[in-house]
């Protein structure tokens, strides 16, 4: 077991890319540490499956090198890579029993029969497939079939990584939770590097130690779920993670203040690197934009969404053509359509220039000096 290194891996279908836009996957450097669980998160067509297929060898990248430990495997065929992969739709061998399906990857690699049986038994127990072991795989439900696919992915103990390509798409929602926690448990038990592709943020955040957020063929941020939530490095991450996503407001920044639609907002840090009056975006999550009965920006509530466990208010910053944002309504506070006051937490307000987060200079440090 070893780390997997993407050394400038990029891919353009059809070879020679002429511009950035020709890449299905823009060159990326990243080390997948052995024993960790990663999620590749992004909308459809963002290049996550391409990246996964490059690691498994189903796609040979047009650029860069792929290392398993110190070994360059960029051009090695799939069968020689020691990778397991589970696909979006269940792939089972119709004519075999469940047990034979699970044993198939081991049998092909010439493992001894007693060992195969032992391993198949272990994996079947983990996935609750023991009662079905003797049955023909053909007649089973989609859920059970996908469990078999998962099992075939997990059955080899010597793999460098197990890759999952949206494996729970066909699974019934109620079972999804169960299978996901099962996968998590399997990960803990087997201590394998797992990479899990999904477009579902809940799936990504609950499964992974680290999430790679991808957009338009680019890895825009790699971080823990908390990092992605608290400090999105890219407006896309802010918008894509969280439900609803981060509010993004066009405005200008000078020093430690921002100007949005005529309002002056204090910021948690100073931005001397941005030219005075630089046009930027301010990002603040609805969780940190709260309606208040005390001091605050004068706004107009235009819509209220009752999510059951919390209330969200859509507020306009006033005036025609003004921007609007989503804010939380504190528990117990009555709210109506019409004028209200809004408080934005300066420490949680991020500044984005060119869609990327700008690191400010801490105000407290400045004051202390």
């Amino acid at each position: 077991m070893a780390d997997i290194t993407l050394d400038g891996i990029g891919h353009a279908y059809g070879g020679a890319p002429r511009s950035e836009a020709d890449y299905a996957l823009k060159p990326i450097h990243h080390v997948w540490e052995s024993g960790k669980a990663y999620a590749l998160l992004g909308p459809s067509g963002c290049g996550k499956t391409t990246l996964l297929n490059i690691i498994s060898g189903l796609v040979i990248p047009s650029h860069g090198r792929l290392l398993f430990g110190d070994r360059d495997v960029t051009r090695l065929p799939t069968e020689q890579r020691n990778i397991a992969q589970v696909f979006q739709f269940p792939v089972i061998y119709d004519t075999m029993t469940v047990a034979e399906n699970l044993a198939f990857p081991l049998k092909n690699r010439g493992m001894a029969r007693p060992q195969i049986e032992k391993r198949v038994g272990e994996i079947a127990a983990m996935l609750d497939l023991v009662p079905d072991l003797g049955r023909r795989a053909r007649g089973l439900t989609a859920d059970a079939k996908q469990k078999i696919s998962l099992g075939r992915g997990l059955v080899r103990s010597d793999v460098s990584a197990v890759l999952f390509d949206e494996p729970l798409t066909v699974i019934d929602p109620a079972l999804k939770w169960e299978l996901r926690s099962k996968l998590k448990a399997v990960h803990r038990a087997l201590d394998l590097l797992m990479i899990y592709v999904t477009h579902d943020q809940v799936e990504a955040l609950t499964f992974a130690d680290k999430v790679v957020v991808m957009n338009d063929g680019r890895a825009v941020q790699i971080g823990t779920p908390t990092e992605l939530f608290e400090r999105p490095e890219h407006t896309f991450v802010g918008y894509f993670i969280g439900s609803p996503g981060m509010n993004l407001l066009r405005g200008e920044v000078s020093g430690a203040e921002a100007r949005v639609d005529g309002h002056v907002l204090p910021l948690g840090a100073a931005y001397p690197n941005l030219a005075g009056g630089a046009s930027v975006k301010l990002g603040i999550r609805p969780d940190y934009a709260t309606l208040t009965q005390g001091e605050g920006l004068p706004v107009t509530v235009t819509r209220i969404d009752d999510l059951g466990r919390k209330l969200l208010a859509h507020v306009s910053l006033g005036g025609a053509g003004a921007q609007s944002l989503v804010a939380s309504v504190p528990r117990g506070m009555g709210v109506d359509l019409g004028p209200a006051r809004l408080r934005l937490d300066p420490a949680k307000t991020h500044v984005y220039h060119d869609e990327r987060r700008v690191e400010g200079r801490s105000l407290t440090a400045g004051r202390a000096a």
């Binding site: 069968e79 979006q88 119709d94 092909n108 992915g153």
Partner: protein, 296 residues
């Protein structure tokens, strides 16, 4: 108001079809049934013969029974041989057809060519091809020292007829299998690579099971085609030498039109028809039964 009563008018739309079916198959069929239970001495005088013709036909000690049994066995052997060759060959050809690019179209057109040739033309082509005086195959084999003569040697006649059928019909199985192969999602092949399966294993565990349904249909069509074959072997050998290539249809036509043995021929055709129907029914119940097992 209950409007459902008016829905019965829908049956009226079926009436024209019923009339056509009545004239196209039911009436001619009843004529045959008529002949099979009666006998005539001419002058359009018929008298009842009960199941006499059938007893005669199914009793192998009679002349007619012997003829029927011989033709049936020959025909079953012929069907078995062509199926045994065409099915594996069709699968093999379908696996070799390119999967993308302009070569797909070129390959499919080339493969489909034999299917576009009229049956009697196929017969003429092979009749000429196998002649020992002007046919390339006949002349070639004779020159190579192989004893070959379609008109005198039963083995030669069988050889030509089987090769001809394989040439004519393997394409259909190849095209059916190709369609079946195209329907297998890429993920299966990818998973097989991940699982370390070799080429044979991919064929055995993925491709062949996924081809099962098209193969059942293909085998049914080919069985029926070869079991009812007439034009091509008749053009090549005329059923000979002797009776060697007299299959059921050839023998039946000889009996009905050559010898005008109407009673025997009528019983013959009904039994022949019953055999084909039975095989169809067995295939049908087998496939639907297998589908139900899949769905369960």
């Amino acid at each position: 108001m209950d409007t459902r009563a008016f829905a019965n008018r829908a049956w009226l739309f079926v009436v024209p079809v019923m009339i056509v079916v009545l004239f196209s198959s039911l009436t001619p069929m009843m004529t045959v049934v008529n002949y099979s239970f009666q006998d005539t001495m001419g002058q359009n005088n018929f008298f009842w013969n009960g199941v006499g013709w059938f007893q005669n036909l199914l009793d192998p000690t009679t002349a007619v029974g012997q003829r029927f049994q011989g033709s049936l066995l020959r025909n079953l052997l012929f069907s078995a041989v062509v199926l045994a060759i065409e099915v594996p060959l069709g699968i093999a050809v379908s696996l070799c057809i390119p999967k993308s690019g302009w070569r797909v179209g070129a390959a499919l057109v080339l493969i489909a060519l034999p299917l576009l040739i009229p049956y009697n033309v196929v017969g003429v082509i092979w009749q000429l091809f196998s002649r020992t005086d002007i046919g390339l195959l006949g002349v070639g084999l004779t020159a190579a020292g192989v004893p070959f003569n379609v008109t005198q040697d039963a083995a030669s006649a069988w050889f030509v007829i089987i090769v001809m059928d394989v040439w004519h019909w393997t394409s259909m199985l190849a095209l059916l299998c190709y369609a079946g192969l195209k329907a297998i999602p890429d993920a299966y092949y990818q998973a097989a690579r991940i699982d370390g399966a070799n080429r044979w294993s991919v064929f055995r565990n993925i491709e062949l099971p996924k081809l099962r349904k098209v193969l059942v249909i293909g085998m049914l069509l080919r069985f029926m085609g070869s079991f009812m074959i007439y034009t091509e072997p008749f053009t090549v050998t005329g059923g000979g030498p002797g009776e060697a290539t007299s299959f059921l249809s050839i023998d039946l036509v000889k009996m009905a039109l050559g010898q005008v043995d109407l009673g025997n021929a009528a019983a013959y055709s009904l039994v022949y028809n019953l055999i084909t129907l039975t095989v169809c029914w067995v295939f049908f119940t087998y496939t639907t039964h297998a589908d139900q097992k899949d769905a369960a």
